[in-house]
Subunit: 347 residues, 2 copies
DNA sequence: GGGAGTGTGGTAATCGATTACCAATTTCTG
DNA sequence: CAGAAATTGGTAATCGATTACCACACTCCC
């Protein structure tokens, strides 16, 4: 396999320079030559070799992307959105999964750099362990972090405004009558875990509502189930639980219901992400919708602005999300203000 | 950015040939030179340029993969499994989504070929419209189809054994007491839709059970809900419904329950895929588990065997799946044989 | 009609790593 | 110790597309 531009030039009876110019149109050639070259290219089935072009142009037209795992529907959605943005400008996506392991992440970064990607979009798996590899990569090629980020703020970032998100979630359950609220999230190994917890704490304080100590485990359904059991056993059942992601929320709802607690009548539950299962669960989950399309668009846009040579201050773009009210939270009375508690019974 | 092997050679005071040989170890060099080159490479932070290597070696170490959509958790799971298989042999994945459109699919194939991928793994979105682009690509580079395939059988394929799958599903509900069974799937635009329907029909005939006309729509939750309503309105409620994928099944269960039909007491429901939501739903879904890891492993293995030059007959590898019994199907009595119908009430 | 200006084609360098081939040196053998 | 054999270093070609640079031909104007 391999019709080269030399073959085309020979078949058309012209030089490679003319063939290249006729095909790219970057300099004028006589109509007759253009015609002959085009015919020859078509007949031979010529396809330009992108590898050679990349070597010559010092640009590959590929963007590398590393996410912790494609099993997580949130990352999937981001990947899909980024891929489609890139296609708009004729670029392709080299996708890697770090499997939540900083060592693999560092290796993937190296191979992507060796492949001379034009840029990198990454959601670093660990807020601390990912730092050196990410900073090093950022020094060699435009790099934008999405969703998760590394500490120290050395590289651009696009993500959701966790403060706004948690404020909306907390305000919503408070307006539904909640007075005692619990946060169930993940251990603080990545930025999302941290900023969602602190967002929650700020929001609870601002709303003047009591918060029980947070339950921190993993971003999984299983942890949600376990957290539910802990709440059931713990004695002090809150009026509302705000979760770090939808999977936790789904597990939590299941465990609570199994334990005889009614959702939302006894306890309101709010998730986070709204990708994948949230609307498919029974009952459909009230949750904060990640602005995935906007995040992808911003990340790709930002990538085009980064110049490795002149280090500007790192950009941080936090996009405000929207709360999607479904059926796991108690309805807010029409007035919208605080209301009296009615018909609820805690464990 | 760009430390080349020339820079390393100069710094080490040797020729590029020696530098290359010292670093690759493909021919012996004196220990002293090896030492000097390695030190120079380390000090300069030399990273070989994979693009140049690809041009010279005529092999890129990348595999292109095209799936209809990454939003679908089944494809996600396959992508993840393939990615991790490829990593084992140091290859990377160039991922594209066709968004269920044959025209986009054809374009993605062209760009992947232009990037000189070493092979292609594709799940063609349309059994008819995808044919020319896929066959053309298969002529230029090793190509393996996964899950979906094009008609005519011109290219290798790895997928699930739909006959075995549907036989297991039908036998299971029949042993649970079902006598009237319905299939709810997708319109016959892709191979999965077709072979699952025909697998169902064969299985029903073999089991000697009555099948109502199949309901065919799309592989979505929404269609599942709609199909559920059709069944509720239709008068003749079956004892069991076998679905073309899990999303349909989840929607169906929800609609039936909303309509007052108990699952599994009144109607057994079986899904297909067992990726993503199946176990997260309430109640957890009885479903056929796609052998995703095995499919990915086979696809990658097969890719290594295809030689574009000598066209062997196309391979077709159908992997038998396993039924995962959860809570949407009536239990099979211990004996395992047919049982009498009890306690069911149709609409 | 000659010199300046314009348009267009071809030759060869370039991107970076690898390696065929040659040359030089060392080692071995009788 | 001469000559053969083995080892190892260097030079330059190679992969394919692009383009800087040069050369040639033609037009225009005074």
């Amino acid at each position: 396999m391999g019709v080269t531009i030399h073959d085309v030039a020979r078949a058309a009876g012209v030089s490679v320079a003319s063939a290249s110019r006729a095909l790219s149109g970057r300099r004028k050639v006589t109509p007759e030559i253009a015609e002959r070259v085009e015919r020859a290219a078509a007949e031979l089935g010529y396809r330009p070799n992108a590898v050679a072009k990349a070597l010559r142009d010092q640009t590959t037209g590929t963007i590398g992307m590393i996410v912790p795992g494609i099993g997580n529907p949130f990352f999937t959605t981001i990947v899909e959105a980024v891929e489609s943005r890139l296609q708009e400008t004729g670029r392709d996506l080299l996708l890697c999964a770090s499997r939540y392991r900083p060592d693999l992440e560092a290796r993937r970064l190296e191979t992507l750099l060796a492949r001379r990607v034009d840029g990198l979009i990454i959601s670093p798996c660990d807020i601390e362990a990912s730092v050196p590899a990410v900073l090093n990569a950022a020094r060699r090629v435009p790099l934008v972090q999405v969703d998760r980020y590394i500490e120290g703020g050395g590289a651009d970032w696009v993500g959701v405004d966790d403060d706004s998100a948690l404020a909306q979630a907390v305000d919503h359950v408070v307006r539904g009558g909640a007075r005692l609220v619990t946060f169930v999230g993940s251990r603080l190994m990545n930025s999302s875990a941290r900023s969602r917890l602190s967002g929650f704490e700020r929001a609870a304080a601002r709303a003047g509502v009591d918060a029980t100590p947070p339950l921190l485990g993993e971003f999984t359904l299983e942890w949600g189930v376990e957290a539910g059991r802990l709440l059931l056993d713990g004695g002090a059942m809150p009026d509302a639980v705000v979760c770090g992601n939808d999977e936790i929320a789904v597990g939590l709802v299941r465990a609570l219901r199994t334990g005889g607690v009614r959702v939302p009548d006894d306890v309101s539950v709010v998730g986070f992400d709204d990708v994948g299962h949230a609307s498919m669960c029974d009952p459909p989950l009230t949750t904060v919708r990640q602005p995935v399309e906007e995040m992808a668009a911003e990340a790709v846009r930002l990538l085009g602005q980064v110049r490795v040579s002149d280090p500007r201050p790192a950009q941080r773009i936090a996009i405000a999300p929207r709360l999607v009210v479904r059926e796991t939270s108690r309805p807010v009375p029409a007035g919208g203000g605080e209301v009296s508690v009615n018909g609820r019974g805690t464990a």
